[in-house]
Subunit: 145 residues, 2 copies
Amino acid sequence: MAYSIQTVSEKTGLAISTLRFYDKAGLLPFVARDSSGYRAFTDGDLALLHTIVCLKNTGMKIADIRRYIELVMAGPTTAKDRSALLAAHREKVVAKQQEIARSLAEIDYKLQMYASPEAEEKVAQEWAMASADKEKNGLPNPFTA
Amino acid sequence: MAYSIQTVSEKTGLAISTLRFYDKAGLLPFVARDSSGYRAFTDGDLALLHTIVCLKNTGMKIADIRRYIELVMAGPTTAKDRSALLAAHREKVVAKQQEIARSLAEIDYKLQMYASPEAEEKVAQEWAMASADKEKNGLPNPFTA
DNA sequence: ATAAACCCTAAACTATACTTTAGGGCAAGG
DNA sequence: CCTTGCCCTAAAGTATAGTTTAGGGTTTAT
């Protein structure tokens, strides 16, 4: 039994319009049509769609996902290319994760400051320094609360 | 000494056009102008800009960053609101990081499969199953290499 | 045989974040 | 004076990823 687009939408959490958009974008060349022209998703299609979602979740662009799918469609001989593509993507994702972690650490530092007992003084101090910074340069002070 | 927009661009890695865009979007209300109408960034401004970049790096939308900056501009009394805003953002970022990690783990699983000695068979097997899946449902088989 | 619930495409529209272009001022050196 | 290098704004353009709309078949139960 094949699945309708609505069923697939429910199973994957992707909007029906998104599934059609992906199809038009060349991400779903493997999805067949029934006698009425309706998309008929098999379980194998769902597996591939799941991979597409993983790539999307990790920030891969549609155009690159299409490239991966093209390799899959071209058969087992492209296994090495697929592997290379995924490995390159993996490295980019890891780098991005690290960058986000660094920024998050800075946000955590600020949070911790706001949570400390001396938060009030510290914030007031920051305020004073920013103001002084403006005055020092003969610039109008926008910190006017 | 205040910094020109070009200098700030070099220090932050943000394009000049991006800095102007951020200013127009209300992210840089603290940046003063000199007698010629040129933007004059102080060190304090750079610190705030750095925070903006952290928020941007972690995926916060411009509109939300503006909200944070508005709180900063409103003075030390808004410290609790800022803290709440950052804490909420932090949770979203952590959740997103975990989701990415899960998807990455699946990509890693595929990579590991491609790297195994039995990769060739496994890929051929996947291919056969996807094909069978189509035939079983009386659908055209798009896997035609 | 008709209404309700699905499915389809093409094309226009939206959102987000920038970048580019066009037109023009200011400041320093030759 | 005038060229060169910065700076400015406003507005249009680009890129990416969808979503919505308009118009139209299909399937199923009544």
